[in-house]
């Protein structure tokens, strides 16, 4: 019989007061601290998106000045990439779940974990100061010489804010890697780990190896702007394209930092809602590592028209084709898992299924863009914008929302209203496609990105896109409402409301501070739905929340 948990001491009620939160060493509380932080930056980034789409309702640039528009898309990109997409899933779900999933009490370095959150908030605050002072107009890519010599905006402040934030990623990645290597419970071998853990391990690998490069690059840019050093200044013997090489050496792997955790969530959702072991577990696990490694070899596909050598371009194009393979392997394996599975269409599964379709479109258009000849025509058009929103929103955000809903009962001890969950998932899916599919067409026809005005004949598609954005926005806001509502009025969740496999479902909802009342010893494989192991106390059929 599962316990409701609220009468017991759990990590939420074990200690009270602001200090117990701000000085917590509990990875679960730190996950919730990240939830507050990333939600704030997501909303801010969303407001910038709203203003962008409003401007683009009409062909003329009439809502804001051109300079203002430049700041809007720059700050939208910076907020979303650095302060939401990169930290969200690892910071919120990774922090909360990894120790529990591997059967231990906390991460390897709890104080470092708290420090990572403070560094994230410090970087975000510095960047926010930059926003309040007017932001930057350089694009999130900060290319010199504009950013170093000509832009009259707050490049120093925002650059420093992003620089500081990078250390949060590095330290979190380091923490996760050591935790996974050294703190697995007895019997929890590498190939019994949930795929969620494999995905975050691969993400951490990229965080540790890649982030320092953008750190030094931004630092050099800041020094150049502040002290006129001339590292990227062509008039002093520098080369602006070197900046691009160094910038994209990180920023391409960064997109895998954004997608791998989401894929990690999807593996869990697919298994839980088909009540089956993920097909090809080993392939999915190794494909995460493959994406992480290959992802470091393809950065030049962002530089096809920068003056880069055509030979390097060809090599990068070929390597880009290769990096698509492990992603495709995942999609195949998830699809095969669905076959003859006992599929249920709860909210998290709706997000997971949506992910598979939207990620496929995003990923395939990525292959188009990796084709050198094609990219020449669509570089810096809305085709690129549509591609990356398909993978980042259709991919990452769907996984984030799916995971948030799936683990909400575990994190809070409450279930959310399933009707509203499904409604929001539908709104997100419909709104998203209406927003971004027209952008593929616009880009193919030649509409450049980062322009606030466009020819008359493209207005219809732009209006559709803006209409879609309002539906998408509603789809994002609704969960804010009903998830908060559920904290007080949601039905109490038991240990395992979904009837799923995994160590997290064997402990209370919400879990006690030390995660498990008795330290687990693992004897069954991951996703052992069909097997003989009866490790958890899960109900045979998932309990429906309403």
């Amino acid at each position: 019989m599962s316990r409701t948990g609220t009468a017991e001491t759990n990590y939420l009620n074990a200690q009270h007061g602001l200090k117990s939160w701000l000085l917590t060493l509990d990875h679960k509380r730190i996950g919730l601290l990240y939830l507050m932080g990333v939600s704030f930056f997501f909303l801010l980034g969303g407001i910038f998106a709203l203003l962008i789409r409003l401007e683009l309702l009409t062909p003329q640039g009439d809502l804001v000045q051109p300079d203002t528009y430049n700041r809007l898309f720059s700050m939208h990109g910076i907020m979303m990439v650095f302060f939401f997409l990169i930290p969200a899933i690892p910071g919120v779900l990774g922090n909360f779940l990894i120790p529990i999933m591997i059967g231990t009490r906390d991460v390897a370095f709890p104080r470092l974990n708290l420090a990572s959150w403070y560094i994230f908030m410090a970087g975000g605050s510095i960047t926010l100061l930059g926003v309040l002072a007017g932001g930057v107009d350089t694009g999130w890519t900060f290319y010199p010489p504009y950013s170093s010599l000509y832009s009259a905006t707050n490049v120093l402040t925002v650059g420093i804010g992003v620089f500081v934030n990078g250390f949060s990623s590095i330290l979190t990645g380091l923490n996760f890697m050591v935790t996974i290597h050294r703190m697995r419970a007895p019997g929890m071998t590498w190939f019994r780990l949930p795929l969620f853990v494999w995905g975050h391990y691969a993400t951490s690998f990229i965080n540790v190896l890649g982030t320092p490069v953008i750190a030094i690059t931004l630092l050099l840019l800041v020094l150049e702007r502040a002290f006129h050093l001339g590292i990227f200044d062509a008039t002093k013997g520098g080369d602006p394209v070197l900046f691009q090489h160094l910038f994209w050496f990180y920023s391409h792997p960064a997109v895998y930092i954004m997608i791998l955790p989401s894929m990690a969530v999807i593996s869990e959702l697919i298994a839980a809602f088909t009540r089956k072991r993920v097909f090809g577990y080993h392939f999915v696990a190794f494909s995460s590592i493959g994406i992480a490694v290959l992802g470091f070899l393809v950065w030049g596909h962002h530089m096809f028209v920068s003056g880069q050598s055509v030979y390097a371009g060809t090599a990068f194009s070929l390597l880009t084709m290769l990096v698509a393979i492990p992603s495709a392997i995942k999609v195949f394996n998830w699809s095969f898992t669905l076959y003859q599975g006992s599929v249920s269409f709860d909210t998290p599964m709706l997000y997971a299924l949506g992910f598979i379709g939207l990620f496929m479109i995003g990923g395939l258009t990525g292959v188009f863009l990796g084709t050198l000849g094609f990219d020449i025509h669509v570089h810096d058009t809305y085709f690129v914008v549509a591609h990356f929103h398909y993978v980042m929103v259709g991919g990452t955000i769907m996984g984030y929302l799916g995971g948030l809903h799936y683990w909400w009962p575990k994190i809070t001890g409450r279930t959310y209203p399933e009707f509203w969950g499904r409604m929001s998932a539908m709104l997100v899916f419909v709104g998203f496609n209406l927003t971004f599919f027209p952008q593929f067409l616009l880009g193919y026809m030649g509409m450049p990105r980062r322009y606030h005005a466009y020819p008359e004949e493209w207005q219809v598609l732009n209006v559709l896109s803006t209409a879609g954005a309002s539906v998408l926005g509603l789809g994002f806001l609704l969960p804010l409402g009903y998830l908060l509502w559920s904290l007080k009025y949601g039905k109490l969740a038991g240990k395992n409301p979904w009837g799923a496999k995994g160590l997290e479902w064997t402990t209370d909802s919400p879990p006690p501070t030390e995660n498990f009342r008795d330290a687990p010893v693992v004897s069954e494989e991951a996703y052992d739905y069909a097997g003989a192991g009866h490790g958890d106390g899960g109900a045979p059929a998932p309990a429906r929340a309403h």
């Binding site: 002093k236 013997g237 090489h245 050598s309 030979y311 390097a312 090599a315």
Partner: protein, 107 residues
């Protein structure tokens, strides 16, 4: 990682002596015109010195397998950054495709 292995003091002293010798060689070699080999010698000596420090002072010689893998991983991706970036600049203008990167730079 390094277990409780205590490295004998004489090993440390031998490594220190080797590092001093290498330093002397690298300084001396800089004053001799070896053409293209100057760079190779300089790099080889620096790598040899670094390897000695990593293996003995940092105990990688005595550690479990994970640590050398970690070290190798870091160095590998560093070389990826160097190699692929340089291959762009070096190959500009090959076979008449595009123009070579101007060298040396003139203000």
């Amino acid at each position: 990682m390094s277990g409780h292995h205590v490295v004998p003091v004489r090993v440390y002293l031998a490594v220190f002596a080797a590092l001093m010798v290498f330093t002397a060689i690298t300084v001396a070699a800089a004053f001799v015109d070896l053409g293209a080999l100057n760079n190779v010698v300089m790099l080889a000596i620096a790598v040899a010195k670094a390897t000695l420090v990593v293996m003995f002072f940092m105990h990688v010689r005595y550690s479990t397998r994970l640590i050398p893998v970690v070290v190798f991983g870091g160095v590998f991706f560093l070389l990826v950054m160097f190699g692929i970036t340089m291959s762009d600049y070096v190959s500009r203008g090959f076979l008449g495709a595009g123009s070579a990167w101007p060298r040396p730079w003139a203000p």
